[in-house]
Point group: C2
Chain length 178, copies 2
């Protein structure tokens, strides 16, 4: 899904500024399964406005920088529906951590153990932050999606906790790492 459609979808849930869209993909319910940078959000919103899929209202704020609030137009809503009619592509998982594990066989088992333990902590934190999000989530779909995220994080955590020791043992057994 391109950033264009992502913006359309987020605006379908409510008006927002570019900054708020960025916050949602970085920290909100979207944070688990999407990302987008300012460098793609702002140009997308500009183009979407030019093409009539969204409208933009300018707010001069007193004690804050000016704000541009974008709203979906009927044309935009139609375009989104059209986009959602096509089958979603497969999920994509990127993990520098797993890549490092594969590549780092020649690296000290201590370092690997350390890496795994850090990762376990990160999963615990992520679970906590998703559980917090759950309280704010209103729609059934957002509940479903956040709980999906929690389930995934728990599965990763569980796997790491239960297979950590055996990995280290096997790596030590497999090769004398210089």
């Amino acid at each position: 899904m391109d950033v264009r459609t992502l913006c359309l979808g987020i605006l379908a849930l409510g008006d927002a500024s570019g900054y708020e869209i960025k916050k949602m993909v970085a920290e909100g319910s979207f944070s688990f399964f999407s990302e987008a940078s300012y460098g793609s959000i702002y140009p997308s919103l500009t183009r979407l406005t030019e093409e009539g899929f969204v409208t933009c209202e300018f707010f001069s704020q007193d004690k804050r920088p000016d704000k541009k609030i974008y709203s979906l137009t009927e044309k935009g809503r139609l375009a989104l529906t059209e986009e959602l009619r096509r089958d979603p592509g497969p999920d994509k998982n990127r993990s520098e951590f797993l890549a490092a594990l594969l590549f780092a066989e020649a690296v000290s088992p201590d370092r690997i153990q350390n890496l795994v333990e850090e990762r376990i902590d990160e999963h615990r934190m992520k679970i906590r932050s998703l559980q917090k999000l759950l309280d704010e989530a209103m729609s059934p779909a957002s509940h479903f999606v956040i709980n999906y995220g929690i389930a995934m994080q728990k599965a990763a955590l569980d796997y790491l906790e239960h297979h950590q020791a055996s990995l280290i043992k096997k790596i030590i057994a497999a090769g004398p790492t210089e």
Copy 2:
């Protein structure tokens, strides 16, 4: 992790051509947590060669297109080790499917049910293909990584199977979708 480092890492596990690297990230042990296109692999290998991180040998094959086999140099191995010393960034999950669920609240429950069922099938297939990979995997790390992938796929499958019905029910209850 950029494609440059990915190439370095894969070449650390054995010599390969650009085509083979692409195959590994698309179908091999790497397929679960990384991706790279020809448009990034070939230029990376060219630059890596120019900079002395890899060497390239040309093979004229009889019944196949010519092949360029790349090998890691000592300098390349050092650069990889250096790269792996830094902490890996957080995992990134992208899911058009979950995005579609969130955005598609106004879409018919039938369509959502359909989407979820398709996804369940895809997870089942993915699990089977990962289990096949497991037979070929040699190193302890690749076993660990593939089993990690299987655990994740199973968790997703499990979640969808167990929460599917309740999602549909809630969506029907929540709003009369026109």
